[in-house]
Amino acid sequence: MNEQWSLFKRNLLDSWRTFSRNKLGLLGSFLILTALIAAVFAPALTPHQPTDVIRDEAGRGLTFAPPSVNPPLGTDDAGRDIWTELIYGARISLTVGFLAGFIAMFVGSLFGITAGYFGGWIDNLLMRTTDILLVIPDLPLMLVLVATLRQMDLHVSPLVVLILVIGLLYWTSTARLIRSQVLTIKERQFVARARAIGAGHGHIIRKHILPQIMPLIVANTVLVISTAILVESGLAFLGLGDPTQPSWGTMLNFAFDRNAVTNGAWWFYLPPGLAIVWVSLGCVLLGNVLEEMLNPRLSVHHLEGNENMVMLSSPQSEKK
């Protein structure tokens, strides 16, 4: 087991080395990490609660106060601190984004692997379903679904509805991508060899197909998360979010509804907008770099050889 650990460390180190070479990837990770930290450590980063009203000396709500030393991003129409709202909003936006992204990835991978591996009528069925979903325009469909589900008074948080709706509509690109990869891998000689040994479907999928596509899934998930965050922001902006748990999209919704524009309170709508861009950009950069990196085409020149090439320690069975 010692060997397996050192092997794992070696792989990790190799991957890190390749990864750290790419500046954009590092930038993307930085963007995402800062957002995550802000979300997780929100209480430590601000003395206020999002619902606290900041009052001036006279005890009146400090509405639409511009940014200054404190409050750093100003206040909204009710005197609440924007900075606080922003970092607590990060929690909502990121949670919805990540969860929806994971659902999409999971469903997409499942469909993609099943369709690609088994082919035939299973493939047809799954792919036609995918096509149908692809054809219907996303936003109107989601609007309808969310609105309908909310009407149905299901006693679930509106956020859960959002997560489910986004997750269950955005798996399609992942599914197509995974499927085409699986089709390619299926034809490779090492899979034929596994079949010749007598391996069953489960073994082949687990041991041979999944490891090959896992990197792709990871890279694609990051991109899907970025989409999910954007979509959530859009839906929340349209008023379909949960006003008691405001995400960045909801903040934008409030900003426009409550005349931040006419009041010139740019600090109300600009920060959440930029925050959305910040995280989405981070995801996209990271996702692209991961995709590039995880393509195992040799980046080694054919003359360079391999440092780790194992030499036979002694001449093998000589001529008789």
């Binding site: 060997e3 397996q4 050192s6 092997l7 591996y117 088994f118 082919g119 035939g120 009528w121 493939d123 089709l183 299926k186 034809e187 490779r188 000689q189 090492f190 034929a192 060899r193 596994a194 079949r195 010749a196 040994i197 007598g198 391996a199 069953g200 479907h201 073994h203 041991k207 041979h208 490891p211 090959q212 195992p296 391999n306 780790n308 090439m309 194992v310 036979l312 320690s313 002694s314 093998q316 069975s317 001529k319 008789k320």
Partner: protein, 356 residues
């Protein structure tokens, strides 16, 4: 030889349907294997030789269960194995190994018997760069057959079996290789890993499909010597598939020459190479390059190319390219003529040995 031969193939057929259009029924077939029969004894090496498209790889794939037979029998130690195509089975469309059809054609009944068979028959693939999963360690690759068949579940036992297999394949010390990945090994070493993985279950029959064609010439002998060693030490029978006649000369006890899905000549290696009877064999032998400029010989270069296996010529399938074909060759599909006790050729021009 009172015991049943390790492998006996009787009248094996494998046709691949060619769909003319979406709606019309299939009426043409690619006759990849068209009535092939042979036997293989314990510890014997049979070479199946031919050019691309002759059906040799299809035979290997059928023997290992990657393809289903259209007809015929495959017997392993006298027991019938092999899987026939199913015309209809819970909605699964039969046969064809086109890429769209997926893998379900592989696992039809009797699934259990097929799996057990695979413990005793293993295959070595051609491309040492492609037949190993780049993300698996060498240990995992060699241990995989054990895992799949649920053998040697104890860690120690498994380790020792993998170690033995690697060392017998010439990779010593084995532990050095356990945690390596395929891309860290040379082509020759990779092929040794493939052989180790094939031998870890101690099979009785090895199907080697062009095991050395993708290796540099100077290391081919390494692998061939290894296979020979395994054959001698463990009594493994080997079906050796290749297009390279010079390697065959070095390695095989018996040789079967294939053309367009049929064996056209077979017999002991040195006999067939010394006195080939079938015109195709003669032509092939004459064009094999010999590494000695002083021996530049008279070459029989056949014109044109091997015809499409979906359109096999009438009569003797070789007659359009045959330098000595005559009128009857176009009409009669030649039977096998016995040239000597173990040597036969399917040609009307061959004179049979007088018995006695």
């Amino acid at each position: 030889m009172s015991e049943a031969p390790v492998l006996e193939v009787r009248s094996l057929f494998k046709y691949f349907p060619v769909r003319q259009s979406l709606l019309r029924r299939v009426d043409k077939s690619v006759k990849a294997v068209d009535d092939v029969s042979f036997t293989l004894g314990r510890g014997e090496v049979l070479a199946i030789v031919g050019e691309s498209g002759c059906g040799k790889t299809t035979i290997a794939r059928t023997l290992i269960g990657l393809e289903e037979q259209t007809d015929g029998e495959i017997l392993f130690h006298g027991e019938i194995v092999g899987v026939h195509e199913r015309r209809s089975h819970t909605g699964l469309v039969p046969v064809g190994s086109t890429k769209e059809e997926g893998l379900r054609s592989q696992l039809t009944l009797p699934h259990i018997a097929l799996k057990r068979l695979r413990q005793r028959v293993q295959m070595i693939f051609q491309d040492p760069y492609e037949s190993l999963n780049p993300r698996s360690t060498i240990f995992e690759i060699v241990a995989e057959p054990l895992v799949v068949h649920g053998i040697a579940r104890e860690r120690d036992e498994r380790n020792s079996r993998v170690k033995t297999a690697l060392e017998e394949a010439g990779l010593r010390p084995a532990e050095d290789y356990f945690m390596r990945y395929p891309h860290e090994l040379s082509g020759g070493q990779r092929q040794r890993v493939v052989i180790a993985a094939a031998m870890v279950l101690e099979p009785e029959l090895l199907l080697a499909d062009e095991p050395v064609s993708m290796l540099d010439v100077s290391i081919r002998a390494e692998i061939l010597n290894l296979l020979r060693e395994l054959q001698q030490k463990r009594g493994v029978s080997i079906v050796f598939i290749t297009h390279d006649l010079s390697t065959v000369a070095y390695f095989a006890d018996r040789i079967a020459v294939m053309y367009l899905g049929r064996i056209v000549e077979s017999g002991p290696t040195d006999e067939v190479l010394r006195s080939p009877q079938h015109p195709y064999t003669k032509a092939l032998l004459s064009v094999v390059p010999v590494p000695n400029p002083r021996l530049r010989k008279e070459r029989i270069i056949l014109q044109g190319e091997t015809p499409n296996a979906a359109e096999i010529p009438s009569g003797c399938r070789f007659h359009p390219r045959c330098p000595i074909a005559s009128g009857e060759c176009e009409l009669v599909d030649p039977p096998y003529i016995q040239v000597s006790k173990m040597h036969q050729a399917a040609c009307l021009k061959v004179s049979p040995q007088k018995s006695g």
